[in-house]
Amino acid sequence: MDRIGIREVAPVLNGIWLFLMVVGVAVAAHTGKAQAVTDAAFAAARLAIDTMIGLAGLNALWMGLMKIAERSGLMEGLAWLLRPLVRWLFPSVPRDHPAVGAILMNISANMLGLGSAATPMGLKAMQELQRLNDGDKETATEAMCTFLALNTSCITLIPGSIIALRAASGSANPAEIVGATLIASTFAGVVGILLDWLVRQSLRARGR
């Protein structure tokens, strides 16, 4: 889940950003903190650049290493390990359908934090799942919902960009959160898969 990149839903963020700025300044007018707000805004703009400088080298190091991992077939290895699980999670997808391969590569890339590799594979998987959709093409199939659940709640093996950010912020032990992240993200993944299964079963029971 830990992917470096922009990844955002602009319409909602327009509202949030506007809210933070306008309400912030309005409250400042009320509390008489105009100067403090001005200083904080300028300091934050500089802080963003400091963060970028701290991050740049570490991101370069990380992405460089991960590119080697990608070329040497790390994703394929992980995909091979995950194959039985994916077949079990997608009963509606035929065993050797191309969708299985794309889903596997996407999940493997996600677990390794390889954002640039994960998204193309995810889009390919969606295309293949849409090909298997024999109902209304504008409505998500069960397999698509499972894929989304798997994708958004995937286990994080190595949270590379967060370690980089912690190091850039002056942590004494940037990687100390690796174990905790592994456990917490595994739990989130199990909840995602379980919920998807439960909702699917209950909708089927009601004949929908």
């Binding site: 400042a28 805004a41 993200s185 995602g192």
Partner: protein, 176 residues
Amino acid sequence: MSWVSALSLWAIPALLAGIPLWGAFRRVKVYETFIEGAEEGLQITVRIVPYLVGMMVALAVFRESGAMDLVARLISPVTARLGFPTEILPLMIVRPLSGAGALAVTADLLKTQHPDSFIGRLASVMQGSTDTTFYVLTVYFGSVGVRRPRYAPVVGLAADFAGFLSALYVCNWFFG
């Protein structure tokens, strides 16, 4: 718990040596490939800067004005019941919506709280245990023309919330 700290301590050194070694074993041109990836890493870092500036400035304005305290006081009965520090709330709101925005919120928290404080560690674990659910929904479903995602958003958000909760409990357990 000792194996967890050992894992955290040795994860990076093991990767620094292990990945190139394995790459060489698989006949990858390790240095050239590293350079290629490093270039991508730099490009991405530069691309997220505008997002960092936008979100970090908005958060600073909201906090320094006292608005953050007002909101924190309003919702603290709810978050306190679950055990979340109120400072972490902006991260929980932005996380499902924006990857770069969440990174900015985390950077802001690490700076104002210190990365090795409880909140700093919690923000780090939360960031790694959840995902930009709405982004994935929009892009993945949008790419094949699916307009009715059915129960997928609910399940995705519930999984994010499970990630937040488990991050909190794991952090209490490890670092509390």
